[in-house]
Symmetry: C2
Subunit: 326 residues, 2 copies
């Protein structure tokens, strides 16, 4: 029962995150023990709990602090994230996630669909049980809508070789940055921070989430199954063209056209060729540079928050995003 | 913009249900107009709106009545039902629902998964926006959990030729009766009915829901594509063995064994044979009789509610369930 090792240097956050995991676990009661076990495995699969962590950090911006309430909203945010992950895996037919077999790989998509549904409900259950203020829930469900709509928009872009940087950024904004943005904003709000600091928090979450997703997308081009538990260029195979490829295509669209027109029939050789072309046109470095820009923006914004050890932690944690070594 | 013709004789309920549809519609705002259209089509596909209707009826049991609040909870209940339907269709790979092509038949399972997610969130959004009392939401999400767990249990019974009546009843209790039970209970609760009448309401919903689902399952054996928009014996093909088949198997399990062992490879001839056997062993009539028992129980319970025109309506509507002619 412990959170990711990345929190070893932040004992207070680590303790809070461990308690967040406990709250999640204590709210799960399913008669079918197989399903219960699956969900508990998911909770303890070693996710970094970044969304609750940023929420916890931002809950120290303003003067108010109620630990029980804060921890339960943190728990709801992570459960919400898990719900979208499980359903994303259904959509992507992903065989592994966080190095572990996905639910639909193990038990079929049926279990995965309902497990995701269960997690959605669990999120609202935790919020309803532990949170005093309904407006949080409303904000939350409106945000979830935006996240889901972002996913739907992403699907309509599958195998679209004309996808441009703007469209990509809009996608990841809905898919990832939105929930980070919500987490930070809710933290500031629950602590009764000033309107100015609430707005700053929202932007911190947005920029940090954008950097995070770009870096995550880069991993698909740089790391194989062994290190990351996910096959290399898996996204490309599925028609998900992310930033490194988009940058490279921008420099020479023709070079990629014939290959990408094969759709889901790309061979391993094709994928190697695509990867060489991306390197040739500097796609990974360009993507990395954009991630750095977002991270730096987030860091500048964090410096505008009221002083405190939480702010130092936030700077260190956000900065280390640029040197992710998974 | 109008609800099912079954409400033509109940102008007050009909007006309320039309307003429920309006509430649902006014809460749907999606940038992607395709998805928005799909969801609106779903709303106006002519569902009977039975769950909100029973909730509305029960909201007249006690002395309190706040129309705005009542209508919004009714809307949330229908949206919740729609969410589970959409995901059920994903699981069942159903080509049609209510005579219309399902979302995943039209646009693929990806859209269907996210559309269901969107509807789950919409349910909680409507509740959060229009309802004052958090405890409703909590009850609601706990009930949803039970419904989902019921679905999961159902899946583990697929192609299980040893399924017995008890297991079947447990399944439909979670899958259908639970939400009717919740609808009736919430209606009584919101009107501040006595504890006695709240309990009666819950049991009315349960018995009425059990009858409703048994009758719905019977339709799979009695009506073809033309009348109902659903292929005949579609459930059996998918390994969902419902009450008429279970009753018939109880009389002669051997007669069915070889056929059912073909799993999803049943031919049209096999299905005809199965249907003849079910008729031979009186499976449909036995199922019908059990539905009648549940309906009569519901009717007796309704008579225990405080007098009022709502009670007369409820008796008539529930009674007519036995003569469903879809």
């Amino acid at each position: 029962m412990r959170s990711h090792t990345m929190w070893d240097n932040y004992p207070t956050i680590q303790q809070d995150l461990n308690d967040v995991l406990l709250i999640i676990e204590s709210n799960i009661k399913i008669r079918d023990k197989t399903i219960e076990r699956i969900i508990k495995e998911l909770i303890y699969a070693g996710g970094k709990l970044l969304r609750p962590a940023y929420f916890l950090l931002c809950s120290q911006i303003g003067p108010q602090y109620n630990r029980d309430q804060v921890l339960s909203i943190a728990a709801a945010l992570e459960v919400l994230h898990m719900a979208t992950l499980v359903h994303d895996d259904v959509i992507d037919d992903a065989p592994t996630r966080r190095g572990q077999e996905t639910i639909q790989a193990k038990l079929g998509k049926n279990y995965a669909v309902y497990t995701g549904d269960y997690l959605f409900c669990l999120c609202f259950k935790i919020l309803a049980r532990h949170s005093k203020d309904l407006s949080n829930i409303e904000f939350n469900s409106s945000s979830v809508e935006r996240i889901l709509v972002g996913e739907l928009n992403q699907m309509s872009m599958h195998y679209n070789t004309n996808i441009d940087i703007k469209q990509y950024l809009k996608q990841i904004s809905g898919k990832t940055a939105q929930l980070f943005s919500l987490s930070c904003y809710l933290g500031a709000e629950i602590s009764e921070a000033s309107l100015y600091h609430k707005r700053i928090s929202r932007r911190i979450g947005h920029n940090m989430g954008m950097a995070f997703q770009i870096l995550d997308d880069i991993l698909d081009y740089t790391q194989g199954t062994k290190c990351f538990g996910k096959p290399v260029l898996n996204d490309v195979k599925q028609g998900i063209y992310s930033l490194p490829l988009i940058y490279a295509m921008k420099k020479n669209r023709e070079a990629f056209r014939t290959l990408l027109e094969k759709g889901n029939l790309l061979t391993e050789d094709d994928l190697s060729t695509i990867l060489s072309l991306i390197h040739k046109y500097n796609g990974i470095q360009d993507a990395q540079d954009l991630a750095t820009k977002y991270t730096n923006k987030a860091l500048l914004l964090i410096e505008k928050l009221p002083e405190g050890s939480y702010r130092e932690d936030m700077l260190l944690i956000t900065g280390s995003l640029l040197n992710r070594d998974l």
